[in-house]
Amino acid sequence: MSDVGLLWWRKMLETIRQPVWVISGLTTPLLYLLLFAPLLDRLAGSAAFPRGEVLDVFLPGLLALLAFSSGMGAGWGVIAELQTGVVERLRVTPASRFALLFGGVLRDVVAFLVPATIVVLIAVPFGYDPSVPGVLGLLGLLCLVTATTSAWSSALGLIFRDIGGLAAVVTGLQLPLTLLSGVLLPLSLAPGWLRGLAYADPLYYAVQAARALSDGVVDLSRVGVGVLVIGALTVLTLTWATRCYRRVAP
């Protein structure tokens, strides 16, 4: 376990020293809040936002989007460390293979959690009115989303070993996954066939659960299913990526 702490701190230092990333982690959600959320105000009271509070629906989706994209870049970092021999050097140390993976995953989780918390705090004066325990649960669930994408992207980085292949798969899946999850507009607006497709998107369940939690509702159909799907995916991707660290191709 101490290996995880050491390797997490290694990645944290790397992040802190690249102020560009710290800033861009904050600006993207804030730009959505400032330049996109106002467009939705006209829709208040419509089928999409029955309760009238646009931010209560939009913000959980925005946080889910942030959680997803915070983990996505992990594979690029892994490839850079394959190329500079860092992965190889660490694999010869007695550090557990899980720690080699999880140090980076945990960094990504922090890199999600810090801006996400700030965004929540900023949104409150603009009318975001969540349940406090609910929003804590929401952030916890979305941390698992970040962990899943981070592990998945790392595993693909270890397998592809080159940016081209990784980028094709990750960015190729990013758009359909986020569009189908209903992060920007709820899928209650969608035609039936589109809603059907969304059931195949794990991020959809995370967004559904996030919206329920934000309202302070803990139900089986949204929160229960969301926690189950994302929890299972977290375990699955972490196990898979750890195995990839055990056997890195020469």
């Binding site: 050491l6 021999g85 050097r89 890195v248």
Partner: protein, 313 residues
């Protein structure tokens, strides 16, 4: 002395390539051992198997008292490894790299700090160790990477092509540092495709070709046994008579007449010279000139593989 590395019939295939095909190796404690061979001979693959980076297909390898396939964790605790492409963390400083490395091997914060100071001193990293590694020159980075390999005082240090890409000055410095390490008792195994490096540095070496060891021994012994030294002498007087005399000596091979000089091969030049002078002096032969040329490992390589290393490297 006890063997620190025992490798028997090691094998590794990749799709379409048999990289290592039945490699045997023994390295004694405290030795500086070289694996010499052209690119693609299987040196790096062998090293990667011995350092637990690559699963072994067949054969056994015991490194620092533990079986590599069955107990990789113990092997990892006892060995250091400096890879071909380095492995230092570029966004961190050299000191941060050293501290992290020490702690990953289980050292306490203060022990790691003390060990880092020792290594900074030993490898002369002081001038740049608190800068980020990304700003280092090639030679500085190499020294840091070797220090990283030594963070936990490993019994065996493996280095893969440690001087590739270094200028002659840095290469000579690195040789000195490796010799100093060896005299402190660390067993060192390195791969190289530079003949001069294997010759100057290694106590013993194995020539690897097409995934097998084709010759093994001290550089001097290999040269003596496989190529022999060349003596050229120019006698005064009756050259054919001297040639007949030399042909009759059991330690002399291949006497060739070359103008007014005679060229001949002896297994060990420095040993053979006094004897040769005795024989010639006893027969009353006076010499106008005498030179001894030691063979290069290139000749040894040519002899055992049928190819010149420089052609294939």
């Amino acid at each position: 002395m006890a063997d620190v590395i025992e490798v028997q019939d090691l094998r590794k295939s990749f799709p379409g390539v048999e990289a290592v095909r039945g490699l045997d190796l023994r390295v004694a404690a405290g030795e500086l051992f070289g694996l010499l061979g052209p690119n693609g001979a299987g040196k790096t693959t062998t090293l990667r198997m011995l350092t637990t980076l690559l699963p072994i297909d067949a054969g056994t390898a015991v490194v620092a008292g533990a079986d590599v396939a069955r107990d990789p964790r113990t092997v990892r605790r006892r060995i250091g490894y400096v890879g071909q492409i380095g492995g230092a963390d570029l966004p961190a400083t050299g000191r941060e790299n050293l501290l992290l490395q020490g702690r990953l091997y289980g050292a306490s914060r203060s022990d790691a700090r003390r060990r880092a100071d020792e290594l900074i001193e030993a490898l002369a990293l002081g001038a740049f160790v608190d800068r980020r590694v990304g700003t280092y020159s090639g030679g500085q980075r190499r020294r840091l990477e070797i220090a990283l390999g030594l963070a936990h005082r490993p019994r065996v240090l493996f280095l893969d092509e440690p001087t590739t890409g270094l200028d002659p000055q840095n290469r000579a410095n690195l040789w000195d540092q490796l010799r100093a390490l060896r005299s402190d008792g660390t067993t060192i195994v390195l791969t190289t495709h530079y003949l001069e490096e294997a010759d100057a540095l290694a106590d013993r070496l194995a020539i690897v070709d097409a995934g097998r060891v084709v010759a093994e021994g001290a550089p001097r012994a290999l040269k003596a046994q496989l190529a022999g030294d060349t003596v050229t002498l120019r006698p005064r007087g009756d050259v054919p008579a001297v040639r007949t005399l030399l042909d009759a000596q059991p330690f002399v091979r291949n006497v060739v007449l070359d103008g007014d000089a005679l060229r001949l091969a002896v297994p060990d030049g420095p040993d053979a010279l006094p004897e040769l002078l005795d024989v010639l002096g006893g027969a009353g032969v006076e010499l106008a000139a005498l030179t001894l040329v030691e063979p290069s490992l290139d000749e040894v390589f040519l002899r055992v593989t049928g190819r010149a290393l420089r052609d294939v490297a």
